[in-house]
Assembly symmetry: C2
Amino acid sequence: MKILLYIILVTILLATSSARYGVVAQQSKVREYRIANEHRILEEFVTLLSIPNVASDHVNIRRNAALIIEMMKRRGLEPRLLEAGNSVPPAIYGEWKVPGATRTIILYAHYDGQPTDPKQWAGTMPWQPTLRSAALEAGGTILSMPKPGEKIDPEWRLYARSASDDKAGVMAILTAVDALKAQGIAPTSNVKFFFEGEEEAGSSHLGDIIRDQKLLEADAWLICDGPVHQSGLKQVVFGVRGDTNVDLTVYGAKRPLHSGHYGNWSPNPGLILAKLLSSMKDEAGRVTIAGWYDDVAPLGETERRAIEEAPHYDNELKTQLGLARTENAGKSLLELINEPSLNINGMSSGDVGALARNVIPTTASAVLDLRLVKGTDYQRQVERLIAHIRKQGFNVIDHDPTDQERLTRPLIAKVVHRDGGYNAERTRMDLPVALSVIAAVQATSAKPIVKLPTSGGSLPLSIITNNLRTVTITVPIANYDNNQHAENENIRLQNLWDGIETIAALMTMPNASSAK
Amino acid sequence: MKILLYIILVTILLATSSARYGVVAQQSKVREYRIANEHRILEEFVTLLSIPNVASDHVNIRRNAALIIEMMKRRGLEPRLLEAGNSVPPAIYGEWKVPGATRTIILYAHYDGQPTDPKQWAGTMPWQPTLRSAALEAGGTILSMPKPGEKIDPEWRLYARSASDDKAGVMAILTAVDALKAQGIAPTSNVKFFFEGEEEAGSSHLGDIIRDQKLLEADAWLICDGPVHQSGLKQVVFGVRGDTNVDLTVYGAKRPLHSGHYGNWSPNPGLILAKLLSSMKDEAGRVTIAGWYDDVAPLGETERRAIEEAPHYDNELKTQLGLARTENAGKSLLELINEPSLNINGMSSGDVGALARNVIPTTASAVLDLRLVKGTDYQRQVERLIAHIRKQGFNVIDHDPTDQERLTRPLIAKVVHRDGGYNAERTRMDLPVALSVIAAVQATSAKPIVKLPTSGGSLPLSIITNNLRTVTITVPIANYDNNQHAENENIRLQNLWDGIETIAALMTMPNASSAK
C-alpha cells in the first residue's frame, strides 16, 4: 500500500516536474500582477468588507450577494444565485470552463460572518474596514488607506468582520482569476465557484441548495477557509470537526428578587447553572458526559504520521496566549482536535460590572459548542448531553416553563438544539487528488507545508459529501492570529497576497490524469 | 424583665389611650388632605422620579439634590446639603423644630437608586415615570397621567427607578409634612430630615458625612425604606442585614480563541468560574466556605417570639414566584434572613443569545453579594471568601494579571472587594422608643402589624449607630412586589397613600416621656 502510494506520488511528481519551471514562472507572474494591483485589490476588498454580513440580517446579506455577483460578472464568471427560499442567504455560483480540461474543481469560500458586538471592538468598527500598522496586540496603530503610489507594507493588518473569515477567501479566489486572466494563463481544470452565505449560522440550508445540483459536480471541492498553521507555514487540511450548538437556560423565581430580602431562600439560577456546567467536565477539562468519546473513529497510519510530522507549536502558543496550563494536560493541541469537545461559548445571569445589582436573577443561560470528529454524530452527542442534564436531576424542556411546570419541578433546564449542526468530515490523505493538491501548494512555498488530517474548526463539508459524490480538501490562507469569530478580526496583508498565489496554483495544478 | 416591659408598655398605652381618639382623628385629617391633593402629589413625585439618580452619575445626582432642597424650602424645613467632597453625592438635611418638644427623631430616606439597563425594562423607561393600571405581571396596561378631576385608582402602579426604593420615602415624608401643616397639627417631637444620596452605592461616605455632626443628634432615626410585609401588612423592622459586594474574575487565554481550533486545549474561563462558584455552596444552597456561619449572634427571646408571631408567608410566596423548592429547605424565609448569605448577583463570560459566537472567551466574571447578620463582620467574611478561593488552587490577585503572572500561575482569580460594605444592625425590640413606634404604626392599621428583628435587606444603619449615639428603627412603606433593584421597579399608589399616614403618625406619636 505504501509502495503504491509512493509510485503514485512519484508519477505525479514526474508528470509535474517538467512543468515545475512553469509552476514557478506562473507563480511569479501572479505575484507580478498582484504587486502592480495592490491598491485596486485593497479597494475592492474594503468595499466588500463594508457591508454587514451576519446571515440573519436578510437585507444586508443580499447586498453582499449582489456585490459578489457584480464582481464575478466583471470577471466573466457567469455568476448566478442558488436559492433555498427568500429568507435564506443565497449561495453564489460561477464557472470558468476550460476547453479540453478533464478535471473539475470547485473553489469554495463563504461571504457571511459571525455576529459581533461593535462595542467590544477596540477603536475600529466591524464593518468599517481599517488598516493598522501591525496587530492591535502588538501596538498596531490606525492608518489611513494608502493613496495611489504609496507603498503598502505587507505586515499591515486590515481590521473588519470577515477580513479573514471568510471574505478573504472570496477575495483571494477572484483575484487569482484576475491574475491568471491578465497574464494569459489558463487553468488546468474546469473551475467552478461556490460562495456560501450561511456558513457562520450553521449552513442550515446548504443541503437544500446543493442537493441534486448537476451544476455542482466536481472531482473535488477545495475549501478556502480557516487559518494557516500557527508557525506561519502554509497547510493543507483533509478534514474538519463537526459542529453544533446548544442553548441552555435554568430558572430561579419568576421575577427578579432583592438579594437581601430573598437571598439564601429563593434559588439562584447562577448557582444552578454553575453546578450543572461543572458537572459536565472534570478539573482537567475532560468531558464527563457518559459516552462522549465512545464513537471516535481511530486515525489511520498516514494521519498519525502527518500529525507527528507537523510542527508542534504548543509551547510557543502557550507563551503567546499567556497560559500556564492547558486542558487535558499531556495531550498536544493536534491530538486534542482529533477528539470531540464541549466548550462554553458564553454564559450570563443578571449583570456584572457597573450594571450589577443586588438581585437574584430570574434565569441563567449558557451557549455550548459541541465539536465532533469522524465517527461521532452530532444528534447523538446532543442526546448524551440531555441525558446527562437529566441525570443531574433536571426536568428538560424545550420552552420557557409554564407556571404549572415551575411549581411542580424543582430543577428545570430549557435545552434548545440550535439549527444547523453537522458532522465531521475527513478525506483520505492518500487519494490522487489529495496528492495533487499537496504538490501544488508545496510548489508555492519555500518551506515544507503542513498536512493535517483535520482542522480544529468546522465547515459543513459533510453536507457537501453527503449530497454530492466528491471529496473536500481545505487550503486555508488567513493568519492564525486573526481573531476569527471574535472582536477585532483582521487579516495580515501578506497572508492575502500569499493566498492569491496559493489559489492560482490550485487552478493551474498539474493535470495528472491519474488524479482521481 | 418581662413584667417590667409589660409595665412600660401599659404605661405608654395608658398615656396614649387618652390621645387615642386624637390619633384616629389626626389620621383621618391626613387622609383628607391626601385625597384632596392626589393629583398634585403625583405630579411632584413624577418630577422627582424624572431625574436619573444613580449615585455615580455626578451631574444628575446633584440635580436630584437641588430639586429636593427646593421642595424642602417650599415647606419651610430649612434644608442644607451635607457634603463629603465634590464628587460625593451630598446628603440633604432639614428640620422642623417644635417648641417644647423633649424628643428628637430623624426621618431618613435615600434619593439615589440602583443602576439599571433601560433595555431590560418592558415598555417603559426607568426615568420616564409611567402609570400602569396594575402590575405588569398582572397585565397592567400603560395609562396617561390623570387629568385634574379624573379619579386616581389606588391600585394603579407608578413605574420608575426609585418609585419605591427610595424616592417613595422622600415623597411620603415631605407629603406628611404638608398634611400636618395644612391641617394645623404639630409634631410631638422635634423632627429632623436626612436624605442620603449614596445608599445604593454602599454608603461609602455616610460615616464622613455624619461623624461629629451635632446637627444629627436624635433619640432615634426612623428609616423609611424597604417593602411592607408580603401579606400587605404594615411592619416595623428593628434591624437590617449588613452588606458588601465582591467582584470576581477568572482568566483563559489573553485573546479570544476560536472554539474549534483551540477548544478542549485552551482553558475555558466559564468552566473555571462555574467550578469555583459551585464550590462555594452545596446543592441545598448552604454556604460551604469555612467559618461562614461561625460568628452569628443568637436571637433573643423577644426576637424569636416576634418571628414566630409574624405571618409565615413562604407557601404563598412560592406560588407567586413559581418555586417548587427553596434553598436551605426546611428553614423559613424569616429564619434564613437571620443568617449570613452569599448570592451570585450576576455572572458573565462571552455572550449568549444572538450575539453568541464559537469562541473561548478571555475572562469570566461574577459579582457576589454577601449579607451579614448581627455578629458577622463584613471584612472578615470577605477574608473567608478569599481563603476559600485560595483553597481551590487559585492565586488571588487584585489586578488584571501580568504576562508573567499568567505564565507562572495555572489558576488566577482577581478578587476586588467593592467600596462601601457595612455590618448588620439590630435595635432591641423592648426599648421604650421601640414600643412607641410600634404603637404609633399599629394605630394607623386596622390589622395587626408585623414586628421583625431584622429585614433581609440592608441599610447602612451600623454606620449611623457607630458614629452617633442613637438607635434606628425601620418603618417601610413600599409594596413588596415593587421589583426593587431590578428592571420595572414600581410603587402601588395605595402604598404611597398609606405611607403618608404612617409617617405622619411617627411625627405625632404620643410623647411618652419614658420613651428612651
